[in-house]
């Protein structure tokens, strides 16, 4: 019984190893299908996957309006203090005080692209952009303010 199991083990091991080698052998002989991209050459036709995480941006519509309510959920979710939400109080049309963002400061140099802020945002105000060429000569350029100057919150976002 032991001997039988022993040889069964040996043969199944050899079979699984050969299976793996057949797969890599197939890749070796079919090296026309390449999964890597020839980056600097194909810069114009770069084909990035949808979920690629380049940097955090805040999309604005044509009326210069964003969806951020200033709830600071992203700031709380961030594991290394990349996002700083500076809020202010605005008086709206009905004369009520309402919280809004003054600046949403984003430190790209600290960001690990973990996507937690995007997940935490209740109003989908921030998204991950597909840009990735972030090299600059001065570190201060990496500290970005995500909301455009004079931008407002969209109607109906609470």
């Amino acid at each position: 019984m032991f001997i039988k199991n022993y040889f069964k083990e040996v043969f199944s091991a050899i079979r699984s190893l050969l299976k793996g080698m057949r797969r890599t052998g197939y890749y070796f002989t079919h090296h026309k299908e390449i999964i890597t991209q020839q980056y600097p050459d194909n810069r114009d036709t770069l084909n990035l996957p949808d979920r690629f995480k380049g940097e955090v941006i805040m999309p604005h519509d044509e009326k210069n309006e964003h969806r951020c309510t200033g709830c600071t959920a992203c700031e709380l979710a961030c594991p290394n203090g990349t996002i700083k939400v500076i809020t202010k109080f605005e008086i709206n049309a009905e004369g009520k005080k309402k919280k809004a963002i003054d600046k949403l400061v984003y430190h790209l140099e600290l960001c690990t692209m973990c996507n937690l802020c995007i997940v935490a945002c209740p109003s989908d105000a921030i998204v991950m952009a597909q840009t990735f060429e972030h090299s600059v000569f001065d570190r201060s350029q990496l500290t970005k303010i995500l909301n455009n100057p004079d931008s407002k919150i969209m109607e109906g976002i609470e």
Partner: protein, 358 residues
């Protein structure tokens, strides 16, 4: 038709006409040394590029393709970089042993070149105990690894070296048993005799299943002995940064790197000699015409072709299989390879006595 043997003979005669026998021998040794060193340099360049290309294609990548046409100058650029880098010796290291270890690794590789027959009648040293010499010298390589690991004064290096010690000591046994099975069939330890005994067919075909098993055992054992994946526990990048050569940089690192590739080349030479007939052309029984065509291919090309086929096989292993754990490694050797190798050797011995092989 010219051959390597003819060239060496004419050089030998010319030198003997010009100088006394002692000086002629001296110049011949010098030329052999230069030839071995230049072979090392070429092997380093070619095998590194081959490894990178093979790995890239197996992982659906392109590999080096920027330096030179199709990236063939990549290894020259790498060598240049390693040459100009600083060879740092860490402060806490044992200076002499630390600097001596890579040299020892290269010396071992160089010594192993001596008995290998690269072509018909083209051999540095036709030793009558060639196989014993090879297995004895190759076990010295573990000393250079242990020396490097211990002298570095680094925990990663020491762990890598200790693992390598356990690994090489155990896998040498099954490599030895695999080598013995061909030696039993041939009745000689000399590499030349082993090749000549395969005149009418390579051992892998002549020896039926037992020699095939011995070949598989040999390939597994030498992959482990040269510290290559899936048995690269001595380096184990993901666990030990770089294992025994963590502290090495510049040319000292390059020597270890070169020694690894040269060792792969040498064990593949031995494998080709033992199982695939060395420089013997491929012959099929009584097909005179086919055999004649095969004879037209020079013996050196046959030898290199077989060797590079085996090197490719070892690279294929490396880029397919995941690394073993140390206990799995020793289980594989002591519970599987060694018992199978021993029983296989008995079967081969019975076959040799009974004359059941072709």
């Amino acid at each position: 038709m010219w051959s390597l043997a003819k060239i060496t003979n004419s050089i030998h005669e010319a030198l003997n006409n010009q100088f006394s026998a002692g000086w002629a021998l001296f110049f011949e040794m010098l030329m052999a040394g230069i030839a071995v060193i230049s072979l090392f340099a070429i092997l380093g360049l070619v095998l590194v590029l081959m490894e990178r290309k093979v790995s890239a294609w197996m992982q659906i990548r392109l590999g080096p393709n920027r330096v030179g046409p199709k990236g063939i100058l990549q290894s020259f650029a790498d060598t240049l970089k390693l040459l100009v880098k600083e060879g740092l010796t860490p402060g806490g290291a044992d200076k002499f042993l630390f600097n001596f270890a890579p040299v020892l690794a290269i010396i071992v590789a160089m010594l192993l070149m001596a008995p290998i027959a690269f072509a018909k009648d083209f051999q540095l040293w036709n030793l009558n105990i060639g196989m014993l010499y090879v297995s004895a010298i190759s076990s010295v390589s573990v000393i250079s690894i242990l020396m490097a690991g211990w002298a570095s004064n680094n925990k990663y290096s020491l762990m890598g070296a200790m693992r390598s010690g356990a690994q090489i000591v155990s896998y040498e046994l099954s490599a030895g048993l695999a080598i013995l099975s061909v030696v039993v069939l041939t009745g000689s330890l000399s590499l030349k005799d082993i090749i000549l005994s395969q005149q009418n067919g390579w051992w892998i075909f002549k020896g039926h299943l037992p020699v095939l098993i011995a070949f598989v055992l040999f390939m597994i054992a030498v992959t482990a002995e040269t510290n290559r994946a899936p048995f690269d526990l001595a380096e184990a990048e993901s666990e030990l940064t770089a294992g025994f050569h963590t502290e090495y940089s510049g040319m000292k690192f390059a020597l270890f790197f070169l020694a690894e590739y040269v060792n792969v080349f040498i064990v593949c030479c031995i494998g080709a000699t033992l199982f695939l007939g060395g420089w013997m052309p491929f012959h099929i029984g009584n097909w005179q015409q086919f055999n004649h065509i095969m004879d037209y291919i020079p013996s050196s090309i046959w030898f290199m072709g077989k060797t590079f086929f085996l090197i490719f096989l070892i690279m294929w292993f490396r880029w397919t299989f995941p690394r073993l754990r140390i206990d799995q490694l020793l289980t594989l050797e002591w519970k599987y390879l060694l018992p199978i190798g021993m029983i296989n050797l008995l079967v081969v011995a019975a076959m040799a006595i009974g004359g059941w092989h072709f």
